[in-house]
């Protein structure tokens, strides 16, 4: 007890020292004034004292859980056991679908708009999940594909008056093509080199869009993009929001179906094999180039498609929407939710997008909390909210036969 107290005191003193110049002194070199905020020192001391207690408690609990896992104890949480129950799964899916369908009827346009952006991130997360979660190719510039989709709709709509429904697949295909083109130079790269090059692609996209004014209209962006048409009818703002919401629901369901099928397909298993061990995977006769490129292309496809929808929802896009922060958020959705797990990614997107939305009252602190949450999550639950379970196969016919023999 005394030991603990002493330790927390030291931590508290350390943080007081650490935050002293930034929290206590505020200097304005423009107006030549210095403000000393001594009260902040007290708050820092108190907060770090309490937090250090909490931190140590959590760490010891974590250690204990690890010890249990090593002894072969039950490591799956109750939630996971529940999810493995198929009949519960179907019931839950039905309830969720129903809730999703009546959502815009119950809540107002504002809520639907927020929900649309959360759903956009669900699709983005599922797309990135293909390259990061399944194929193990870390992509820090995923937002570029999203931007490519958004810009292709904006430009096609601006110059050629193409409608939403025609451009939706076109956007996906253009995103796909970009995935292949950008995938080529990085076929030989691994791990962190891959991360920095993809980050570079993201930055290049933004810089080019900002400066190539004759194509992209520069930083001022493109305005007055058409909303999706509903059999040629003009919809009011509220109606068109609801309409986009339903399109988005359909797109999410489509994405879930396709990615789920992909995950268990031949190519999906090739991705997982590649993630686990590249050399063994090649030795088994899997074409490395094709597998990698297909992971990029199929991941980028969703980003391109949902980019089209994003442009039609906001009716205005500019390069500022496609920064590295977006890529980081999408990546955190995948990692926080649980890499490779579709349900996890969906949950992750809702938590990461909706929480900050509803915490607008604390809007100043939400990015601070966001960063801290990422760190805490990684330390105390690195496998994500819902960890991915390996597909296992059981031969059901076997049991009866062995009994006879």
């Amino acid at each position: 007890m005394l030991q603990n107290l002493k330790q927390s005191l030291i931590v508290s003193l350390w943080f007081v020292f650490l935050t002293f110049p930034l929290m206590v002194i505020r200097v304005n070199t423009m107006d030549q004034v210095v403000v000393w905020r001594w009260m902040n020192m007290l708050w820092v001391a108190l907060a770090s004292f309490i937090l250090s207690y909490l931190w140590r408690y959590m760490l010891t609990r974590q250690q204990m859980r690890k010890a249990v896992a090593e002894e072969g104890g039950e490591t799956r949480s109750k939630l996971q056991l529940l999810l493995e129950d198929m009949s519960f799964r179907y019931k839950a899916m039905g309830v969720l679908l129903l809730a999703a369908l009546i959502f815009p009827q119950v809540f107002d346009t504002y809520q639907s708009t927020i929900m649309i952006s959360a759903l956009i991130y669900v699709v983005l997360g599922l797309g990135l999940n293909i390259s990061v979660g399944l194929a193990g190719l870390l992509d820090l510039g995923y937002v570029a594909f999203f931007g490519v989709g958004a810009y292709s709709y904006a430009l096609l709509n601006h110059h050629f008056d193409l409608g939403f429904w025609i451009t939706l697949p076109i956007g996906g295909i253009i995103g796909c093509l970009f995935g292949v083109v950008l995938g080529f130079p990085i076929l030989r790269l691994r791990g962190d080199y891959l991360a920095i090059v993809t980050l570079g692609f993201g930055m290049i996209f933004k810089v080019v869009m900002e400066n190539w004014s004759s194509l992209s209209f520069g930083p001022s962006g493109i305005a007055n993009i058409d909303k999706p048409s509903f059999f040629g009818m003009d919809l009011s703002l509220a109606d068109s929001t609801i309409y986009i919401y339903y399109i988005m629901i359909a797109l999410v369901i489509f994405t879930i179906l396709v990615t789920n099928r992909l995950k268990n397909s031949r190519i999906g298993r090739a991705w997982i094999a590649m993630r686990e061990d590249e050399i063994a995977c090649v030795a088994m006769g899997i074409d490395m180039a094709r597998t990698k490129l297909s992971a990029y292309a199929l991941g980028a496809f969703w980003a391109g498609m949902v980019g089209v929808l994003f442009a039609s929802k906001t009716t205005f896009i500019n390069p500022a929407s496609f920064t590295f922060m977006e890529s980081a958020i999408i990546l955190s959705i995948v990692v926080l939710g649980g890499m490779g797990s579709i349900l996890g990614v969906i949950l992750g997107a809702f938590i990461l997008i909706l929480l900050p939305e509803y915490m607008r009252a604390f809007s100043e602190y939400r990015m601070l909390a966001f960063g801290a949450a990422m760190v805490i999550m990684m330390i105390f639950r690195p496998q994500g909210i819902i960890s991915n379970l390996r597909q296992t196969y059981q031969y059901k016919g076997l049991k009866g036969k062995t009994n006879n023999g």
């Binding site: 930034l22 505020r26 030549q32 791990g191 080199y193 930055m203 960063g371 990684m378 690195p382």
Partner: protein, 300 residues
């Protein structure tokens, strides 16, 4: 020719700053194979602390290059403290976790530190007091290389020589090299690996803070967001030179600095960042382990 020389020295100045920050990335990566995404934020905190010290001093009527040195020393102390704490809080509990976990933790820390400075201080750009005087002996060449550039070049060169001596000649340096080569083996022969890792973070952060102070006093303004781009570019420099290799980081920084300077001077300054990353992609496709990096043969 004069224009060429101006760009040459501009690129050299810029590149030596990149190299200084890149060293922190490369040292950390060499030991624990982690992209320390929050390294750019340490650089920013270094610059901010220096701004606060220098600002308080100038407001109370002190000025001159000695204030800059004082500010730099305090900035280095604080940045090292932040680097040390960062490793203890965000990375140490994750040792042995899958590769992506510490990376995400690092991105989270970077966002956290940016917003911490934003909330504790200000979102605006703050002017950094001008503390480097114009040296009289620099008068004849002032149109090619100014006094601030000279200060930057001399400081970075001295810092790098000291770092090389530390790593090559001292016992601690030997322990660092041993840890980099094989962590388990180093532990077996009695190296306190945890302490070496902490020390690496402290040294890397100190270098970043020196870079931060130099850039802040050279460009003349600071805000909470300067760390991001500087961090990304310095990391690019580290990868370019071959991550994990200390001469590689210096070389990568200089190559990047020159490439940017010449591309901006002769082609177009709008697309500066495109050249940076274009160069990166080009070099990595030709040499996937960077200029000086050793391609590791994987054994199965």
């Amino acid at each position: 020719m004069e224009y060429f020389l101006e760009l040459f020295f501009g690129g050299l100045t810029r590149g030596s700053i990149y190299a200084l920050i890149a060293l922190g990335y490369t040292m950390v990566y060499g030991i624990i194979q982690l992209i320390n995404f929050a390294h750019g934020e340490i650089y920013m905190i270094g610059a901010f602390v220096a701004l606060i010290v220098a600002g308080v001093c100038t407001i109370y009527g002190l000025s001159g290059i000695s204030i800059l040195i004082l500010a730099a020393i305090i900035a280095v102390i604080y940045a090292s403290a932040y680097g040390y704490t960062l490793e203890k809080v965000a990375y140490r509990p994750l040792r042995g976790a899958p590769r992506l976990s510490p990376l995400i933790s690092a991105i989270g820390m970077s966002i956290f530190l940016q917003n911490y400075v934003l909330l504790a201080q200000t979102p605006d750009f703050l002017p950094f007091p001008r503390l480097i005087p114009d040296f009289a002996f620099m008068e004849p060449v002032a149109h090619i290389i100014g006094s601030p550039e000279l200060v930057i070049l001399v400081t970075t060169m001295v810092t790098m020589i000291l770092l090389t001596l530390l790593i090559k000649k001292t016992k601690v340096g030997k322990a660092m090299r041993a840890t980099q080569q094989d962590m388990d083996m180093a532990r077996l022969v009695g190296v306190n690996v945890d302490r070496i890792i902490s020390l690496t973070f402290i040294i890397g952060s100190a270098l970043a803070a020196i870079g931060g102070v130099l850039v802040a006093s050279y460009i003349g303004q600071v805000n909470f967001y300067i760390g991001f781009l500087a961090g990304v570019k310095a990391f690019t420099a580290a990868v370019l030179g071959g991550i994990g290799s200390i001469p590689g980081a210096v070389l990568g920084g200089l190559v990047l600095g020159w490439a940017e300077s010449f591309a901006a001077g002769y082609i177009s300054s709008d697309y500066e960042d495109v050249f940076t990353f274009g160069l990166l992609v080009l070099i990595l496709t030709l040499r996937p382990a960077g200029i000086l990096g050793k391609a590791r043969k994987q054994k199965v």
